[in-house]
C-alpha cells in the first residue's frame, strides 16, 4: 500500500530524515517510535504533503502512485489521512460544513455523486458516537475552544468521516488523559480493517497497549534503526531510548 524508499527530507536546510525505508501492506498497523527530534513528526508531515519540508531524495508511492508531486488535497483524495499532533484552530469555519465540503471534493475527484444531506447527517451522528464527540462540538468552528482531548477526538472523528485507506496518527496520544486515550484508541480500533492501514507515531509505549501494532519501528536520527513486533515497544519502554542511542554509538564506533 505504502512504500517509502531512501527518503531524505529537510526543513530550512536542516536535514531531518536521512534515508528512511518503510513498506506497509493493507490492513497493517505500524508504530513508529523514537526520541524527540528523531524525525517522527517530520515523516508524518512529509507523508501528508506539508510544503514546509523539502524532500531532497527518495520516493514515496501510495497505492501504486508517486505522491511526492501531489498536493495535500490530492493525497487526501487518494485515501491518505493525517491526524495532526497539534490540530489547527480555524475560527469561522464550521466543522460540519468543512467536512461536508471535504467529502464532496473527494467524491468529485473520484467521480462520485455528492453526499446527500440525509446521508451526511446520519454519518456525522454515527461517527461522532464512535469517539464520543459532543454534537455541539461538531457544529462549532474547527477546533476553536476545544480542549486538548476534544481536538484529538475531533481528528479521529474526521478520519472516520473521510474513511481513508491509510491513517497517519501523529502523537495523537501526547497529552491525553487515560480516559481520552481509551476513547481515541477505541475509535481507531473500530476503523481497523483488512484494507485500511495505520501509521501510529508515538513517543510513549502506553498507546500501544490500546492500539496493538503489527510492527514497531524505532526511528533515530532520521532513519529506522530497529524493527520488530509489539514486544519491541515493551523492550524500548523498559530500556529507554538511551538503549538505542548507545547501540548506535557502538555501531558507529
Amino acid at each position: 500500500m505504502l512504500s517509502i524508499k531512501n527518503l531524505h527530507a529537510e526543513i530550512d536546510g536542516k536535514k531531518i530524515i536521512k534515508g528512511l525505508d518503510l513498506e506497509i501492506k493493507a490492513g497493517e498497523v505500524h508504530a513508529i517510535m523514537g526520541p524527540n527530534g528523531s524525525g517522527k513528526s517530520t515523516l508524518a508531515s512529509v507523508l501528508a504533503g506539508n510544503e514546509d519540508f523539502d524532500v531532497t531524495e527518495g520516493a514515496i508511492t501510495f497505492l501504486g502512485k508517486d505522491i511526492l508531486e501531489m498536493g495535500p488535497d490530492e493525497r487526501s483524495h487518494l485515501g491518505l489521512f493525517l491526524a495532526f499532533q497539534y490540530p489547527v484552530e480555524i475560527p469561522g469555519v464550521s466543522n460540519i460544513n468543512f467536512l461536508k465540503a471535504a467529502i464532496n471534493e473527494k467524491r468529485e475527484a473520484t467521480g462520485e455523486e455528492p453526499i446527500t444531506a440525509k446521508e451526511f447527517l446520519q454519518m456525522v451522528k454515527d461517527k461522532a458516537k464512535l469517539v464520543e464527540l459532543d454534537n455541539k462540538l461538531t457544529n462549532r468552528s474547527v477546533n476553536e475552544g476545544f480542549s486538548g482531548g476534544e481536538k484529538k477526538r475531533n481528528e479521529i472523528f474526521q478520519m472516520a468521516m473521510l474513511e481513508p485507506k491509510l491513517g497517519v496518527l501523529d502523537e495523537t496520544d501526547s497529552g491525553l488523559d487515560i480516559d481520552a486515550l481509551k476513547i481515541v484508541a477505541n475509535g481507531v480500533n473500530t476503523l481497523r480493517s483488512n484494507d485500511r492501514s495505520f501509521i501510529v507515531v508515538t513517543h510513549y509505549q502506553r498507546l500501544l497497549d490500546y492500539i496493538v501494532p503489527d510492527f514497531v519501528h524505532v526511528l533515530f536520527d532520521g532513519k529506522i534503526v530497529k524493527s520488530g513486533d509489539k514486544t519491541l515497544a515493551l523492550e524500548l519502554e523498559e530500556k529507554g531510548y538511551d538503549w538505542i542511542k548507545n547501540e548506535r554509538e557502538k555501531i558507529s564506533a
Binding site: 501528508a48 504533503g49 506539508n50 510544503e51 498536493g71 495535500p72 488535497d73 493525497r75 487526501s76 483524495h77 489521512f81 493525517l82 495532526f84 490540530p87 489547527v88 480555524i90 475560527p91 469561522g92 469555519v93 468543512f98 467536512l99 465540503a101 471535504a102 467529502i103 471534493e105 473527494k106 475527484a109 468552528s141 474547527v142 474526521q158 473521510l162
Partner: protein
Amino acid sequence: MEIVESKNTTAPLKELIKSYAGPGKADDAAIAQRLEKLRFPTRRDEYWKYTRTRGIEKANWQFSQAQEIDEIAIPESIGDGPRLVFVNGLLSKEFSITEGMPEIESVERNYSDERSIPFNPLADLNQVLPQNTFRIHLKKNEVWEQVISIVHIFNGNNAISQPYAEVILEQGASLKINEYQLHRGAKTFSNSYTKYDVGNNAELGLDIIQEGTNESFLHTQTLVNQEKDSRFTQNTFTLSGKWVRNNTIVNINGQNSEANLNGMYIPSGTEHVDNHTIVDHKVAHCESNELYRGVMMDKSTGVFNGKVFVRQDAQKTNAFQSNGNVLLSDFATINSKPELEIYADDVKCSHGSTTGQMDEEALFYLMSRGITEKNARILLVNAFAEDVLAEMVNENLREYIESAIKEKLSGASNGA
C-alpha cells in the same frame, strides 16, 4: 501663518453644469460660482493622503439621461419587495416597485451641511449639483416591517451621478434598507450624499453593497445624526471597483444611543478602497462599535481611517473600533489608522488594527482533508469576513456577498 495651496477646479468639472438637469437649474450663476471655488486635495491634506482625486478631476464627466438597463442588472437577491431603482442618478419609474414603499418626499436644495464635515470637495460637488433629491420620512412610531431596497445602477459613458437623499425617522420609527451601488459598463463616477436623521428611540439598519468596474469611481458621503435612545447600523460591503472612497460621519447627540459601523472590502488587481469614519460621542451613556475587515489581493491598495471623538460630556461611553486586514499578495498595501480622541474621564474605549497574511497552517490543515487550495482559501476568507457578515441587517444578502467573494478569489490566479 497658514499657507493654503490652492488648486482650482479643473475645466472639465466646470463644464458639468451644461449637462446638469437637477433642481436649481435656474440658479446657474450661483452654481457656477460655487463650482469655481471647489478646491481639490493635494498630498498635504491629511484627510486625503492615501486617496488621490486626480482621476476624477481630470475626466470629462457628464450627467447622463440614459435610463436603459439590462433586466439582469437588478440582482435577484432583491426579490419582489418594494424598491426604488435609480439609473445614473435618476429615478426609474419603470424598474421601481413602489407598493410597500414609504412615501417619498422631494427635498429643497440645501447647503447647510457643508461646514459640518471635514474637507471634502466631492461632497461639496454633490451639494452644488445634486440630482433627483428625495427623502424617506417615517412618522412617529411608524415601524416599517418590510425591508426596502434602493438600487443605483451607473452605466453611462463618462457619466457622473450625484444622488442626494435624506432618511428621516421620527421618534420610535424603524426601517431597514438594502442599498446597492452598482457600476456597470463604461466609465462612471457616482458621488452620493446621504443624510440619516434617527430620532428618539428610532432604529435604522442599512446594508450597502458596492460593486464597480475597472473604470469606476465611487464616492459616498454619509452623515448620521442620532438622537436619544436611537440605534443605527451600517454595513458596507465593497466587492469591486477601481476607486472607492466612503466617508461616514455619525454624530451621537442623544444619550443611550448605539451606533454600529461595519465594513468588508476585497479589492483585487489595482483596485483602491478607502473607508473613512468619524464617530462623535457628544453625550453620555452611548455605545459605538466599528468593525472593518479587508481582504487585499494582487496590487490593490486600501485605507481605513476611523476616528472616534469622546467629548467631555460623553461620560460612560463605550467605543470600540477594530480594523483587520489579510494580505493575500506581497504587492497589496493597506494604510490603517484607528484614532481615538477622548476628553471624558470615565469611558471604555478600545481600538486596534491588525494586518496579516493567510494562515498557512490552517490552509494546510484544510487541504490535508481533501479541500483544494482554491476552496480552502475561499473558506478561510469567508471565515475572516464572517464577523462582519454576522452583523448584517438583512440576511438575504449573505449569499450574494459570499458568491461575489468566491468569484473574486477564483479569478485571483489569473492575475485579475
